[in-house]
């Protein structure tokens, strides 16, 4: 007993570096951000501030009433949703194809490597590369479109907000579908093969197998993908910042770009940027909690139902005997 407790202290000692680093580099900055949101801190290089006691939520009121923040919020959600939906559909398709035992696809390893490649490339580089591709009057995409006869003449596509947003959606999807696919495929490979064999014996076709067995079994993986994609997607910065810097006319501005532009450009409104950060944090937290709650509840309910059914079946069996 004495020995055990003498080792126990190492548990604390080994965890201390992590904890201190977290306090200094995460908790303190978060609290500081929260504080700055209630102050008049602005101006480049300024670190002195007064708390706005007479109107504590002035910055919050300002941020929430600014049209560009609303635009940013709407854009962020639209861009995330529009890239998440096709991404998950494509990933599910690839998962269904790559894990189907009845028709094996050759070169899966190669395809996975290629599909994942855009994900490791610097997002900043990708943003500027695509900016070059869509350049006007002479750019790669214009060249291809005119060559194929789809456009009669070169078009300045980036002037159109919807098109610009669409391109960002495309870039995001292109960068992330490989990751999502690999995650899901490995999730499916983790399912016991006996389940699939049983389904085959029972005469289930491809669709039935996929929707009745595969999808329910990878539910946790799906939730994991959904939550991580959401947390990452709602913080999207590199691509919208460097692709068109939020333009044209704020059509591609996201909340992170809004926060950056408030704090590190123009009048250096650190206070407003802080308020916007806190609002963002609240939104992301609420959404995450909702997602967890929804899935956890359903799973538990289903499990309880299953147990009850089995109990009933067992009782019936006993009665029959």
């Amino acid at each position: 007993m004495k020995r055990k407790s003498s080792y126990a202290k190492y548990g604390y000692i080994f965890s201390i570096p992590f904890f201190i680093a977290w306090l200094v580099f995460m908790l303190y900055p978060i609290c500081y951000t929260l504080l700055i949101g209630f102050t008049d801190l602005k101006g480049v290089g300024n670190t002195n501030f007064n708390i706005l006691w007479d109107d504590l939520f002035k910055n919050y009121k300002f941020v929430l009433s600014t049209p560009s923040f609303k635009t940013a919020l709407v854009n962020t959600v639209i861009i995330w949703l529009c890239n998440f939906v096709p991404q998950i559909i494509l990933a599910l398709l690839l998962t269904a194809w790559f894990t189907d035992k009845r028709c094996t696809i050759k070169g899966q390893g190669f395809f996975k490597v290629i599909f994942y490649m855009p994900n490791i490339i610097t997002a900043a580089t990708v943003a500027i590369l695509f900016n070059q591709f869509f350049a006007y009057p002479k750019g790669v995409v214009n060249d291809i479109m005119v060559g194929l006869g789809i456009f009669k003449d070169n078009v300045n596509m980036l002037n159109n907000g919807t098109v610009a947003r669409g391109i960002i959606v495309f870039i995001q999807t292109w960068m992330w579908y490989g990751y999502t696919s690999i995650v899901m495929i490995s999730g499916v490979l983790g399912i016991s093969p006996e389940l699939f064999e049983a389904a085959e014996v029972d005469g289930a076709n491809r669709w039935q197998t996929f929707f009745r067995i595969t999808i329910p079994c990878i539910k946790t993986v799906l939730l994991f993908t959904l939550v991580t994609s959401m947390i990452g997607g709602l913080q999207m910065f590199d691509i919208p910042k460097l692709f068109l810097d939020g333009g044209p006319d704020n059509a591609t501005i996201t909340t992170s770009v809004f926060i950056y532009n408030q704090a590190f450009a123009g009048s250096y409104f650190y206070n407003r940027a802080s308020a916007a950060s806190v609002i963002m944090f609240i939104i992301i937290s609420i959404l995450s909690i909702i997602m967890f709650y929804m899935l956890r509840d359903k799973d538990e309910v289903a499990l309880r139902k299953l147990i009850r059914q089995q109990e009933k079946a067992y009782k019936r069996k006993q009665k029959g005997l």
């Binding site: 500081y32 995650v183 910065f237 650190y270």
Partner: protein, 301 residues
């Protein structure tokens, strides 16, 4: 294209006819052809943008303005390089800076995450479970919301333009701790630790000399992701670094968008290529581990 596909379709059909269950196999083959076409299309989509970028890096601005798309390299590589480096873009400096930051933060992240995970797995301490729940909760916090406070804190200390503030925060990497713990729990036989203790080894010695080597596979995959993540990071360096000598690769890239290179298309493509090339080379050699790492993370997560 269509002809070719029909061809392979017919050929594939010929093969399938030899198999017993003809009807089922016909639809199987049709599906297979569709799958391969889509996969090849996606492959092209992944490769072509980078290929066009590589090729355009070797072409002159006039060539690019003539036809922006070309699959055949030209001979203006050196010329583009001269224009690129004559202005504010210094690829070697950026490469070196990024290398320093990424290597140091990767080493710190991997070492301290392993240490924290080890404390979770081996020792029985009162707050162990509470600390694990804490790590799980912290994992979900979006880092960007702390950035304004982080910048103000660093600025007050006068430590902007100092790499320490880009490196030290990687000591706390909750995702990595979580991953390491999941790896270590089944992989580490406690008897080894106990017998080392009987031999008189100190706890730090046991961790450094016995446990770290056992964790090598996990460390390798996590190190790759940590390195790539740090290498690609734009936000933090952008708010902390203002001296051009200290710029990292992603900040260098962001310079290509400004007015400096407005019409020097060849140079812009070359600059982009120089930032992508190290990553692609690393990827070619390590892709096996990277893909395995992505897959592993999901199952555990």
């Amino acid at each position: 294209m269509a002809m070719k596909n029909d061809d392979s379709f017919n050929r594939a059909k010929g093969i399938s006819l030899k198999v017993e269950d003809r009807d089922a196999n016909k639809s199987d083959v049709a599906l297979k052809v569709v799958i391969y076409i889509i996969c090849i299309f996606l492959t092209l989509l992944s490769i072509l943008p980078f290929w066009i970028m590589f090729v355009n890096a070797t072409r002159s601005t006039t060539q690019i303005q003539g036809t922006a798309v070309s699959l055949i390299p030209s001979t203006y590589l050196m010329n583009n390089f001269k224009i690129l480096t004559s202005k504010s873009f210094n690829p070697f400096r950026g490469f070196l800076n990024s290398l320093i930051i990424s290597s140091c933060s990767t080493v710190l992240a991997v070492y301290f995450s392993s240490l924290t995970a080890y404390a979770q797995v081996v020792y029985e301490w009162k707050l162990r479970n509470a600390f694990f729940s804490f790590i799980m909760a912290v994992m979900m916090i979006p880092t960007q919301i702390s950035m304004i406070g982080f910048f103000q804190m660093v600025y007050k200390m006068g430590l902007t333009n100092n790499y320490l503030l880009l490196i030290l925060p990687s000591i706390q990497a909750p995702q990595m701790v979580f991953f390491m713990r999941q790896y270590l729990q089944p992989a580490l036989p406690l008897e080894i630790v106990q017998s080392a203790r009987i031999d008189g080894a100190k706890e730090f010695f046991i961790f450094n000399r016995i446990v770290l080597p056992i964790m090598k596979p996990a460390i390798a995959t996590q190190a790759i992701f940590s390195f790539v993540g740090s290498w690609n990071n734009l936000f933090t360096p952008m708010i902390l670094l203002s001296k051009t000598d200290l710029y990292t690769m992603p900040i260098m890239v962001s310079l290509l968008r400004g007015d400096i290179y407005r019409t020097e298309f060849g140079s812009i493509y070359l600059g982009l290529t120089l930032t992508v090339l190290p990553l692609i080379i690393v990827y070619i050699f390590l892709s096996k581990y990277i893909i395995a790492g992505v897959a592993l993370g999901s199952v555990k997560g």
